[in-house]
């Protein structure tokens, strides 16, 4: 008999013990404490809702929820502004101050992470309501995934009741979404505890993720860029993982999102707003790989067809900036597959604006 067989036998002998009292007590205590603890954590995280995903609204979310932060910043603007930047995290780094030098218009950047077409519409309506008048110009960065049919349209608002209220025509789905696995995680539990603490002692000032004009900063990445430790290769890999997941459930363009986009364009036309729209670029290597591995190329073609059709019908121009070479950019100036350095994204928009000015539009 080998050593491990001896061990197996010992355990077998132990387990062969009769169902004694100690074992029964042991087998009862464990589930009571373990499952009780799990339920407690789940209840705490859903009710406190520190990330603002369940919309319980009992306490103010404590994490960087782009939509909530930008709503707050929009309301803090000292006076009306005339330029509005819309788009996803890829447009967060567009600096309204730099655009003002080209256009002369003071602006606000309302781009938010994972923005979809319903964001464009909701943000424009909210902007008009808060600003008191429509903008004279909108700079819009459009991603293909903004038209994805991957999730319920209301889910994308992740906690912003105010934005959701701007879309009365949209099917809101369930307001109270079912809990997700993060409600069992340490990150959300810690934030729930912080949320309760802040509710009792007062909230800290807004984080410095966004400037007052909505310009976003990826603090860690900007620091890495500054001290030369930025790893583009790692960033490209992260983007691949992220976008594989984004394109996997993107089986067709979402009819609801197309409808929101159309309403947005109608609103732009109605207020005679100048729309500077561009298809957001990707890093060439990332683009090559994501198109090889996913349905990205097919979805991109579908989105382009739709956009060209909509823009042509109004006599507008969609600026193709799919790759750095389209706008004279530099693929080295990327954090990852889709996010550009702040200077690069501002350069992109400035070059589009100058080109338009050169053409008299």
């Amino acid at each position: 008999m080998t050593a491990d067989e001896t061990r197996s036998k010992q355990v077998l002998e132990t387990t062969a013990m009769s169902d004694n009292r100690a074992a029964r007590r042991f087998a009862r205590i464990f589930p009571v404490i373990a499952l009780g603890g799990v339920l407690l954590v789940l209840t705490l995280n859903v009710l406190v809702d520190a990330h603002g995903v369940h919309m319980t609204g009992w306490l103010r979310p404590v994490v960087a929820n782009h939509r909530l932060r930008k709503e707050f910043l929009l309301r803090q603007l000292p006076g009306p502004v005339e330029l509005l930047v819309l788009g996803s995290s890829r447009a967060i780094g567009i600096d309204p101050a730099a655009l003002q030098e080209v256009t002369g218009l003071e602006g606000f950047n309302a781009a938010v992470g994972s923005a979809e077409t319903q964001d464009y519409l909701a943000w424009l309506r909210l902007f008009i309501a808060v600003n008191g008048k429509p903008p004279r110009m909108i700079v819009l960065g459009i991603d293909e995934v903004s038209f994805a049919n991957s999730r319920p349209i209301a889910e994308a608002f992740s906690g912003s009741k105010e934005l959701l209220a701007m879309l009365p025509e949209v099917d809101r789905g369930r307001t109270y979404l079912p809990f997700d696995e993060h409600d069992l995680g340490w990150g959300r539990t810690w934030d729930s505890l912080r949320s309760i603490y802040f509710a009792l002692t007062g909230y800290p000032p807004e984080s410095d993720l966004f400037d007052a004009n909505g310009l976003g900063h990826y603090i860690a990445r900007e620091e890495a860029l500054e001290n030369g430790s930025l790893d583009l290769e790692a960033g490209l890999r992260e983007s691949l993982t992220d976008y594989r997941n984004r394109f996997a459930p993107f089986t067709a363009l979402s009819e609801e999102r197309i409808a929101c986009f159309d309403r947005f364009l109608d609103l732009v036309a109605e207020h005679d707003i100048e729309l500077v729209a561009f298809a957001t670029p990707m890093h060439p290597e990332f683009l090559r790989r994501i198109e090889a591995e996913t349905v990205a190329a097919q979805r991109k073609a579908e989105v382009r067809t739709l956009l060209r059709q909509r823009f042509a019908a109004r006599g507008w121009v969609l600026h193709e900036a799919t790759q750095p070479e389209n706008y004279g950019g530099n693929p080295e100036n990327y954090y990852d597959g889709v996010h550009m350095h702040p200077a690069e994204v501002t350069y992109l928009v400035e070059s589009i604006l100058r080109e338009r000015q050169g053409k008299g539009k």
Binding site: V11, L12, T15, A22, F26, F30, I33, G185, W186, T189
Partner: protein, 455 residues
Amino acid sequence: MLFNSYTFIFFFLPAMLILWWWPGLSRNQRLALLTIGSYVFYGWAEWWYCLLMLGSTIIDYVAGRRLAPDKPHRERLAWLLVSLAANLGLLAVFKYAGLMARSVNLVAGWVSGSGPELLEVPDIILPIGISFYTFQSMSYTIDRYRKRVPETESLLEFAAYVAMFPQLIADQLRAIPTRLTASRVALGLHFFIFGLSKKLLVADPIARAIDPLLKHWEWLSFGDAWLSMTGYSLQIYFDFSGYSDMAVGLGLWLGFQLPQNFDSPYQALGFSDFWRRWHITLSQWLRDYLYIPMGGNRQGLPRAAAAILVTMLLGGLWHGPSWTFAAWGLFHGLLLALEHALHRLKLWSPPAVLVRLATFIAVVLGWVLFRADSFPMAAHLWWVMVGGTGIAFVPEAQPFLLVLATLGITWCWMARNTWDGTASLRPRRAVLLALLFMACVLVMTRPSPFLYFRF
């Protein structure tokens, strides 16, 4: 599906246990449940993984029937070869095709100078668990050929034996228990929760600390290199032994007894002892199906040394399609052969504490080959670790890792392992396990596959 996922712990496992212990189920119904559940488990990421396992199972089931002792020797040999070819063929295609193509291209490049690649390197995803179930399945036909095991009763029984998600030993399927005792629940909890904690609370934090260091291996200092490789030694132990403990716990809940797979390997006194304590089931497989058939230690020192080297080389390659794994196996083979020779010659018997320390240090150096993505990385790490770039240790540079490594080593050297502490059924042990479970649940949001899943 991962043991350390919400899906497994809160949905798959409870559903499986409820159905498994459902009153009145016949043995065949339970075997079917076990097989289907195991296929769901394996096929969770990619359903076609199951087809491979099913193919291997059917071939070996048929081969096993044709390997009846009363059949002519030639026919039996032919069916054994069919089984070996099928299983090794699966491994060759899905695991080693890329390595073979890269190696051929490398050699062709050396011979002809630079030029176009001779073979296209296939981009094949390694199906989860393929190395485990092909060996499991193949061992049955080999044992049938050797007339050591009876024929399996049915395809269903054999399919359950090959597929069972926590893995098990075949003879227990003959007498499936019909009642779950509180003792089994308690002991299952002991193994499962401690295993889960080893993975999530020890191995994963260590991995998060050492991965950034090893990513920039060119810049590691002497101290950082030792710290990161000691950390990796701990990570791989806690990761894999944690997985094995969880499997034992699951087995207990299903009424089975799985063998011990780790026995405090870093307390080993020598390399033979290490391999008696590390991945015991694989060591035994290699011993029974490779080392002993090659003559073992019965035919003189040179023959035994050659058998050890070949066995360990193949054992290393079993871990992955990379020559660094083969080199790791060869490294251990050399150490084992050397130890074997020294033992026979009885030259010197150093104190046990020195033997333990030397064994541990050599094992850590061996893990360099195992962890390295390439030979240049391994060579550089070794060079740094032997002081080639200077000897400097700045403990404050990696305080978290230093504390983790110190605690981990102390645990590995001093503490009892999971199998030594099974007797306590005190309420405070139940509370401790429940709190550990809660801690694990809180950190389970990060997906973290087990290291051995990639093998």
